[in-house]
């Protein structure tokens, strides 16, 4: 068993950079992709178990990730999911704390696209709940990201457009599901 863990660690740490030598934790990023996939599938099918699967996946990522921007982003994404399911003061505090850590880590790593995305999600999430001072913090971080990487400029407007249309889109998804459609084949195996 001990040798097995060592082998796993050895293999898991083979690929830790992108092609330009920047830190890039493939297994963490890919697990995040699967969690996001599950969130969209959950919205399509209305299967709440997929949300739980996404949160489970985030827990696994948080336990195994080493690269700070990936780990703190996973903590933030999990906090968003939990706060969206259960919007209490406690889950808001967790969200706020995880936001600060995720933006700090990504700023240190000069991952401006990530900073812009995190700031956009946070701005929208907290503005919806009436936390306008926190939303201002999000906008400040977003502007900072845009100043460092102009290609991130459209991230916040696109997120806002997505958010504004989300309820209508999801309603239309359920309305346009063909009768007899079976989406079970879209579920990922555990």
């Amino acid at each position: 068993m001990f040798i097995g863990i060592l082998m796993y660690k050895k293999l898991a740490y083979q690929l830790k950079n992108d092609t330009r030598g920047n830190p890039y934790e493939y297994h963490t990023e890919m697990a995040r992709d699967e969690a996001r996939y599950n969130l969209v599938l959950a919205a399509l099918t209305g299967n709440a178990a997929l949300l739980d699967a996404a949160i489970d996946k985030m827990n696994t990522i948080i336990e195994n990730a080493d690269e700070p921007t990936a780990r703190t982003l996973a903590v933030f994404e999990k906090a968003r999911m939990v706060h969206s399911q259960s919007p209490t003061q406690d889950t808001f505090e967790t969200l706020r704390e995880s936001y600060n850590q995720a933006t700090q880590a990504s700023e240190l790593g000069k991952k401006w696209e990530r900073v812009a995305a995190i700031a956009s999600w946070y701005t929208i999430d907290v503005a919806k709940k009436g936390h306008f001072i926190e939303a201002t913090k999000g906008i400040i971080n977003f502007v900072k990201a845009v100043n460092n990487d102009k290609s991130t400029l459209t991230i916040l407007p696109r997120q806002i457009a997505r958010e504004v249309t989300e309820a209508a889109r999801h309603k239309n998804w359920r309305r346009t599901i063909p009768s007899g459609a079976d989406y079970s084949s879209l579920q990922l195996s555990r």
């Binding site: 796993y8 293999l11 898991a12 740490y13 083979q14 690929l15 950079n17 992108d18 092609t19 330009r20 890039y24 493939y26 297994h27 990023e29 890919m30 697990a31 992709d33 699967e34 996001r36 996939y37 969209v40 599938l41 919205a43 399509l44 195994n64 696209e113 290609s151 991130t152 459209t154 991230i155 696109r158 997505r162 889109r169 239309n172 998804w173 359920r174 309305r175 346009t176 599901i177 063909p178 459609a181 989406y183 084949s185 879209l186 990922l188 195996s189």
Partner: protein, 103 residues
């Protein structure tokens, strides 16, 4: 089966497009990576492994994003189906997982 992996500059160009919201273009450009035969993943150079996985990620994220933006359920399912194919073929490929990419 595609035998050509996207080049590094193609990957970074697709990543820029994805960042700018041009997700359909980004996914199309990275499709060769998810069609790459993976039987020989373990014998690829590290740079090639990195390119294959980075390109596959762009494809999956872009397809999931296309699904999320769509308005009709069949379109959503179509894009999710394409993303799932890449998740099954690449992310959960035993050779990829052996190289340290646990599902």
């Amino acid at each position: 089966m595609n035998k050509e992996l996207p080049t590094e500059s193609q990957i970074f160009s697709a990543e820029r497009k994805r960042t700018k919201g041009l997700v359909a273009q980004a996914a199309e450009e990275m499709r060769p990576a998810v069609e790459y035969p993976l039987d020989d993943f373990t014998v690829l150079e590290n740079q090639e492994k990195q390119r294959l996985l980075m390109a596959s990620r762009i494809y999956v994220v872009a397809k999931t994003s296309e699904a999320n933006r769509a308005w009709e359920a069949p379109t959503v399912a179509h894009h999710l189906g394409q993303a799932k194919e890449a998740l099954d073929d690449v992310y959960r490929n035993p050779y990829v997982q052996e190289a340290g990419i646990p599902a």
